[in-house]
Amino acid sequence: MKIKTKNKKAQLGHGILWIYRIILLILVSLVYVLIIYNMFYFKCDIRSAETVLLAKKTTNCLTNNGILDVKNFDNAMLKNCFSFNKDQLNEYYISAKLSYNDFSDKIKVGNAELEVLCGLKGKSPECISQSYYILAKNNTELKNAKLDLSISILKVEENYMNI
């Protein structure tokens, strides 16, 4: 049987047709990948809002009308401000530093390792640092004091969509 070979023009046309097909497939794949990427990497991260709320709650709990009683300023006081269970204590870190004149004291609750991980790229904890000027009550004496709060929240899994 004699097989008819295509002429050069036909071969070129055939090649162009394949290039067109490949370009079309690449375009469709790109659109598809873009849609899927948006679906899978949907991020609904509320940790930044949570850190602000936590800072507000901490200050309200430690102070009464802007006055902090130095006598009660300890870790137990901070722990009583929230109802964290064991699992939650690994996900949160709150530290409060009170300073006035030469006095300085720091109290903390939660997982202290989170503070070190703040600012790292990728799935790192959400952190916030805030300072408040308050009155520290030592016995009957009121002094101008500074309260530095440092708050970190991990909760990575819940805040990155994984379907």
Binding site: L17, V28, V31, I35, M39, I46, S83, M161, I163
Partner: protein, 117 residues
């Protein structure tokens, strides 16, 4: 006016149309397949739960929050709020106050009280 297409031209045009339809069909099949896995419910669950958590954490005592939601059941388990359709999604709250939680018929009521010493 238009020239009538010969047989070769007709075949070539059909080939192009077939190619386009084929690529679109494959794309659509893949898209629907993925959408079937991901589902809108998962997004809704997450958004409803997180909205509730933020409302709850920012609320002061003696507050009532009423939320309307559809196609999911919402429960409070220890310090977690869990939204459930087929698979559950839960998120924890840090509110120090006592919480009364009533959920039925797509409506959830949360009442926040001061902790009793």
């Amino acid at each position: 006016m238009f020239k009538k297409m010969n047989k070769r031209g007709q075949n070539l045009l059909l080939k192009y149309i077939f190619d386009i339809i084929f690529v679109i069909a494959v794309g659509l099949i893949l898209l629907f397949f993925t959408m079937g896995i991901t589902k809108k419910e998962n997004f809704q669950k997450q958004i409803v739960t997180k909205q509730m958590i933020l409302l709850l954490d920012s609320a002061e005592p003696e507050t009532s929050i009423i939320l309307q939601h559809y196609n999911m059941t919402i429960n409070k388990i220890e310090n977690n709020i869990e939204a459930k359709t087929k698979l559950p999604f839960s998120y924890d709250f840090f509110s120090p106050y006592n919480l009364e939680f009533i959920s039925n018929n797509g409506k959830t009521t949360m009442q926040i009280f001061e902790k009793q010493q």
